[in-house]
């Protein structure tokens, strides 16, 4: 049964500050869409500090220092592109988007799908409508995560929920690498790790905190999966070197959460509400037109990408997928209970072990 702690209250997660921030990025508010404000002491601009609500909030980024200089992402290169499914799927940033519950009519849905494709993020869906829109667009590059069918094999006491397809065509070849989707549950990951033959059939493992059977925060499960997959040998390396890890939670709030999840092992982070709120779909006022919707989503995603670049640059990281993924050394935790920090394998700030 899903523990109550996972059912975070929307007002705790998306505070008024967060909502304003996301709207600033999308252009639903303010006049510099897509450009996160850069602030210093004395400024009245954001950022704001939210109350911590989940383990990831006790993690801090251990930034660059004098011998490892920071990178200015506006004038120097910080790569955010990711290569998934053995290199066949290229995305411009490690973000996936779920839009199934946005209540979009056909034309708006088409705009959102086309925007996600244009900007180079993945689209997660279990909706036939969305799949049909994608099919109708004639998109050739892989970017959609959608169900291929169900799998009936039980693992331990849990059931694997579904297999998902990531990508359809690449370079003229019919390729349907599949990704295994599971609820965010540490015990399920441990069970899977005992069946390397099963898990090695897939090119990715998607951990979905939104699933009703989830029992753990996605950051904890992802980190555990990242660790356990490294213990499974596969040819010359570990299974982790061949398997993508995808994290999904609709209560992730922004680039900070995405950045930290990558640092804990995710290759791709699938979000939902933060985009819906950012582009103004949750407001009671008149719904934005499809053109406005498309524009806002585009700016929001570019804004998130720029924020991730700023965070990476501050940590001296010039290639997100190569350098940031699983780089727990770039994180430190503060006041996080020892058991959780051990699970995440993140060091406590200020503690030096020599």
């Amino acid at each position: 049964m899903r523990p109550e702690a996972l059912n975070l209250r929307e007002e705790d997660v998306f505070t008024s500050y967060r909502r304003r921030w996301l709207r600033l990025l999308s252009g639903a508010q303010g006049k510099t869409p897509g450009d996160p404000p850069i602030v210093s002491m004395g400024s009245q601009a954001p950022p704001y500090v939210d109350k911590p609500v989940r383990p990831i909030d006790w993690l801090k980024s251990d930034g660059a220092q004098v011998t490892r200089p920071s990178i200015d992402p506006y004038r120097e290169l910080v790569e955010t592109s990711v290569f998934l499914t053995g290199g066949r799927t290229r995305l411009s940033m490690p973000i996936g988007l779920e839009v199934d519950d946005w209540g979009l009519e056909d034309k708006s849905l088409l705009s959102v799908v086309a925007t996600a494709y244009r900007i180079g993020v993945a689209l997660y869906t279990r909706s036939e409508d969305v799949v049909n829109v994608v099919r109708g667009c004639g998109i050739s590059s892989p970017f959609i995560i959608a169900p291929l069918g169900l799998i009936d094999k039980d693992v331990g006491e849990k059931t694997i929920v579904a297999t998902m397809g990531l990508g359809q065509r690449a370079h003229g070849l019919r390729l349907t690498p599949t990704c295994l989707e599971i609820p965010s549950d540490k015990s399920l990951v441990e069970s899977l790790a005992r069946e390397p033959g099963l898990i090695s059939r897939f090119s990715g493992l998607l951990i979905n905190e939104d699933h009703e059977d989830s029992r753990d925060y996605v950051e904890v499960t992802i980190s555990l999966a990242d660790t356990m997959l490294r213990k499974i040998r596969s040819n010359s390396g570990s299974l982790r070197e061949k398997l993508d890890l995808l994290a999904k939670s609709s209560t992730l709030r922004g680039s900070d959460d995405i950045f930290k999840l990558i640092t804990l092992g995710s290759d791709l982070v699938i979000v939902n509400k933060l985009a819906r709120i950012g582009i103004g779909l949750d407001e009671q006022t008149r719904k934005p037109t499809r053109e406005v919707l498309s524009d806002r989503l585009e700016y929001l995603l570019l804004g998130l990408q720029r924020e991730i670049k700023l965070l990476a640059g501050a940590a001296g990281v010039s290639s997100l997928h190569n350098t940031l993924r699983s780089n727990r050394e770039l994180l430190r935790c503060l006041d996080l209970p020892g058991a959780i920090s051990s699970e995440l394998r993140v060091k406590h700030a200020g503690v030096v072990r020599i």
Binding site: D35, I139, D226, S318, S319, T323
Partner: protein
């Protein structure tokens, strides 16, 4: 006086027909940059002259305070794991003193030897008890706590001769230096590695190695480079140069156009060897003993070259070093060049120099200029022709002593001073306010003429990094080549360099009041020319490339973040080298999205791909306004300023402004006089400058 610096590295390999390299040469070269290190660690690595056939020499550090426990554990592992071994121990008298146990282990495969080393490391409590320093039939590591000379004496390095060597002096940043386990070189399998830098991908590499059976690491990024190189060659079966190329990596924008062969090759490498690419600042020198009996010296720098790395050769040896002065102190007339950002130098005992770490033509130009600069004078001649008071012999003097002598001479009324036997002394001529002329014969160290206000400094040789930083007046003339970060924050006066210059030349140059700096490079430059430039003029002439069609005289990211001033580069600079642009893959995908929405046609997209580069200016020639306005989001943000890029002849006013400086350049370096008109009137330039709102 203590100079806080960063690690110093050195490597040397003999050429195929040359004799072995003496340890005394190596000690001398690494001691030449003693100021880069500290007392917290130094070390050497060399190729064993008589490799042990199918036997492995394990060198194991034993903590003397826990010797009994360590030795018992070690023997217990050996009894369980190997069929036979020989053992002897020494007490190494470095600054801390420790027991070095040598084991010769028989009948092992490379993989088994690797596994045995990991078992010992894991039992060694991350080095607090014991740690394998090297385990190979070929590669030997000798390291300890102290300055290089102290560690060399502890191991009698001066008495050793070898085909190839590495040396290191350490300035720790993220790990302590109280035990030799943290000193360089680090050796894994048949590799040993020395490193200067701080790798931001450290944590990702640790996770990668965790998945490859490495359970014990001492906690420095440098050790991980050795593990990565070993995995790529021993386990993945790659050649050593391929392994180094993967570690240095290439940004996607340097893979070429999507769907080309080059792009696909890099895409496969990035995917297959995901997590192997090192990020952050580093320069690395490495030794590798291939199983075919060939020994390799390799050197590579990070893709943005945040750390110095130069190479050189003479008739007998090939060298790599942190600073040119290291090579000059053991081979004064060596031909020296710098490794380019992301470049990989490869040399072997059977093949000699295989790859110089930059384009062959650029290396030849740098060598030629360097040779001319160092062979146009001799110290004896200078001493004979100059009055004693006007010559300062810098041999053995610190920079502080040299600068005090310069000031004394200026105070005594001398207006021309010659410095001879200069080799690596930093800060020469710093903050001089008198218009004296200082002629430097040799290789001044970093930070020459910083904060200079009036002095005219002429160097008959090459200069290292950070020359003329924050210079307000006077001049610097360099007859050889220049290193990285030349003319940073230059804000007055003139800098003329006959040869090539390195990375980040002229960054943050500025002008104020009547101060307007000029920086003229006779050769070419690497990445980030004029980054954050705010004023003054940078000119890149490429004189030695005049007869080479299509030469490109700059690296990537020219004028990135430029807000003022002017950059003038002879020849056409491709758009893709200017500023920071989105990757072509992102641009094409965006346009495919517009095709789906019916905003542009397939034909429009095809025309964009034919452009072969993705700049907003290029797209404006092909795309309709509505599409251009939408895609401009990928190129623009509120923090970058619009710059103009024009390929043309110099305008009359530009000729008028630059003529006296180009004339001076030609005269100073004794070049053909007719070059002045050719350069100013005949040649076309890429002219880059900031566009202000009222210039639209």
């Amino acid at each position: 006086m203590k100079v806080i610096s960063s690690c110093g590295i050195f490597g040397v390999i003999r050429k195929p027909s040359s004799s072995r390299v003496k340890g005394s040469l190596v000690v001398k070269a690494i001691e030449a940059v003693r100021f880069r290190g500290s007392s917290l660690g130094a070390g050497f690595s060399y190729i064993k002259n008589q490799p042990l056939e199918n036997r492995f020499l394990f060198r194991v550090f034993i903590n003397p305070d826990k010797e009994d426990i360590a030795v018992n554990k070690l023997r217990s592992i050996l009894r369980r794991g190997v069929s036979g071994w020989g053992e002897r121990s020494y007490y190494i008298r470095d600054r801390v003193g420790f027991v070095l146990t040598e084991l010769v282990v028989e009948r092992l495969s490379s993989d088994e030897a690797w596994g045995l080393a990991r078992l010992i490391d894991e039992a060694g409590e991350t080095g607090r008890l014991m740690r394998v320093l090297s385990a190979s039939p070929y590669v030997v590591v000798a390291k300890g706590v102290g300055y290089p000379i102290e560690v060399a004496e502890a191991y009698h390095i001066q008495e050793v001769e070898s085909d190839a060597w590495l040396a290191h002096t350490r300035q720790p940043t993220n790990s302590p230096g109280r035990l030799p386990i943290w000193s360089h070189p680090f050796s894994v399998g048949d590799w040993s590695v020395v490193h200067n830098g701080d790798i931001s991908s450290f944590g990702a590499h640790m996770e990668l190695m965790l998945g490859r059976g490495v359970g014990s690491l001492v906690g420095t990024d440098s050790e991980l480079i050795a593990f990565i190189l070993d995995q790529l060659t021993r386990v993945e079966g790659l050649r050593p140069d391929e392994a180094a190329l993967i570690v240095t990596g290439r940004p996607e924008i340097e893979w070429g156009e999507p769907d080309t062969q080059l792009y696909d090759e890099w895409r496969k490498l990035r995917t297959r060897y995901h997590g192997f690419m090192a990020d952050g600042p580093f320069s690395v020198a490495a030794l590798y003993a291939a199983r075919d009996g060939d020994y390799y010296l390799m050197a590579f720098a990070d893709r943005y070259k945040f750390r110095p790395l130069v190479a050189g050769e003479d008739d007998d040896y090939i060298y790599v070093a942190s600073e040119e002065c290291q090579i000059r102190c053991v081979s004064p007339r060596a031909r020296v060049w710098s490794i380019e950002p992301g470049g990989v130098l490869v040399a072997s005992t059977s093949k000699g120099l295989v790859s110089p770490g930059r384009r062959d033509l650029d290396k030849e130009v740098m060598e030629k200029i360097s040779f001319q600069a160092y062979n146009s004078w001799s110290v004896e001649e200078i001493l004979q022709t100059t009055g004693n008071g006007a010559v300062i012999d810098a041999r053995g003097l610190s920079y502080h002593e040299v600068n005090n002598l310069i000031r004394d001479r200026i105070r005594s009324g001398l207006r021309t001073i010659k410095l001879v036997n200069v080799n690596g002394q930093r800060y020469i001529g710093i903050g001089l306010t008198e218009p004296a002329k200082i002629e430097v014969f040799g290789t001044p160290g970093n930070c020459l003429a910083n904060l200079n206000e009036a002095a005219h400094i002429e160097v008959y040789g090459s200069v290292e990094d950070d020359v003329a930083d924050t210079m307000h007046g006077g001049s610097v003339i360099v007859h050889g080549n220049a290193g990285d970060v030349l003319g940073q924050a230059l804000q007055g006066g003139e800098v003329l360099v006959r040869g090539c210059a390195g990375n980040r030349v002229g960054i943050q140059m500025r002008e104020y009041r009547d101060k307007k700096p000029y920086l003229i490079i006779g050769g070419r430059v690497d990445k980030f020319l004029g980054e954050y430039m705010a004023g003054g003029v940078i000119m890149v002439l490429g004189i030695d490339y005049l007869d080479v069609d299509g030469s490109i005289l700059v690296g990537h990211h020219v004028a990135s973040g430029m807000v003022g001033g002017k950059i003038v580069v002879r020849g056409s600079v491709p758009e893709k080298l200017i500023g920071v642009k989105p990757s072509p893959a992102d641009v094409y995908r965006y346009l495919e999205g517009l095709v789906i929405e019916g905003v542009i046609s397939e034909a429009d997209l095809a025309r964009v791909k034919e452009l072969n580069h993705v700049s907003l200016e290029g797209l404006s020639e092909v795309l309709p306004d509505n599409a251009l306005s939408r895609i401009s989001k990928l190129f623009k943000d509120k923090y970058t300023r619009k710059i103009a890029v024009e390929y043309r002849h110099l305008s009359d006013s530009e000729v008028q402004e630059l003529q006296p400086r180009v004339k001076r350049f030609i005269k100073t370096f004794k070049l053909r006089e007719n070059l002045v008109n050719k350069l100013l009137l005949d040649e076309k330039y890429t002219v880059i400058y900031r566009v202000f709102e009222d210039q639209k």
